[in-house]
Symmetry: C2
């Protein structure tokens, strides 16, 4: 194809840009939802009603796209969990709601989640770390504030946050691709482990 749009070459009339960064990211999410995690940048460009170089100008290469989508996804997760437990994480039932909200957000954005965590090539396994980092930061803060009295070492909160996020990511992936249990059930099991520890209480 050489006709992604019906526009002619050259700067378009009217002072406005044709599409902005947000529109490109929206288009990318639609394409990924439709075509799966293997969606190409060309397809994204077509969906956005634009050509490839525009995509590069707006969001950068494939790694940057994954990073941007990771940021969005992380924001949604943080938002979902925040509204799900309205301020406190200090109880086991709160933790369960937290886990469940995560699972449901992943399920809702299944393909995008797989795209982001799929990492394209190179050292883009950082895509996953990127997603992790963004959802980790608030969690680490919460943990640090919460357990400030118990652990002096502030690094513990960071390690725990990454661990928990990794646990959630893996469980999500397993859940949406293999398992058929309910989100609530899985959330309760994971919450049990995370709250009571391996030996139980």
């Amino acid at each position: 194809m050489s006709e992604p749009t019906s526009r002619r070459p050259g700067r378009p009339p009217g002072g406005q840009l044709v599409v902005d960064r947000e529109h490109v990211l929206d288009a990318a999410e639609r394409v990924i939802r439709r075509d799966g995690a293997g969606a190409s940048l060309e397809a994204v460009a077509v969906e956005a009603g634009v050509t490839k170089p525009i995509v590069y100008h707006r969001v950068g290469g494939r790694a940057d796209l994954a990073d941007a989508l990771a940021e969005r996804l992380a924001d949604r997760m943080v938002l979902a969990t925040r509204t799900a437990l309205a301020g406190e994480l200090l109880s086991q039932t709160g933790l369960t709601r937290f886990v469940e909200a995560n699972l449901q957000t992943v399920a809702e954005h299944r393909e995008v989640f797989l795209y982001v965590t799929g990492g394209s090539t190179e050292q883009t396994a950082l895509g996953r770390l990127s997603l992790a980092g963004r959802s980790t930061r608030p969690l680490a803060k919460t943990l640090a504030a919460w357990r400030s009295g118990i652990h002096q070492d502030p690094g513990v909160a960071e390690a725990w946050a990454f661990g928990i996020v990794g646990m959630l990511q893996m469980v999500s992936q397993w859940w949406i691709t293999q398992d058929d249990r309910s989100a609530t059930e899985v959330a309760e099991q994971i919450s049990d482990l995370l709250w009571n520890g391996l030996p139980g209480r």
Copy 2:
């Protein structure tokens, strides 16, 4: 280049195969160690002293290669942890050793780990699940046997196993790419979380 080897076309003399599957996998690991996670199948073929179709015949496509390497890596991890704790996982210090052995194995096979968990494209995020599944199975068995008295539901062990493996993978990735603490330190922190739970004991 069109001269990966100096061999002529046609079936080579001598009843033996030129290389077997294991040799190809060995070559793949060498290349990945040298070139990073973005190593190409062509490079693997050259390193193995063979042409691309042979690689395809021996191990299949890129996804299959990742899967095979995941299997090897999982085996190494299981072995490392097994020798590290010689039979029991029922104590917190044993758990710490388990986590530390995992971290060290990942560090030792850093690039291969990133290749496997990096997932190429498509739905090859299953590469990560594949690694998880293989290291998960023995862990799930252990957990199931261990806590058989407490939880009737056998599915709990599976969910926990995936969760723990995910936690380990994410912590490993974070540790080898960003952090500079010692493996022991991180292992103790994660083991603490996993054994005592979030609120502590």
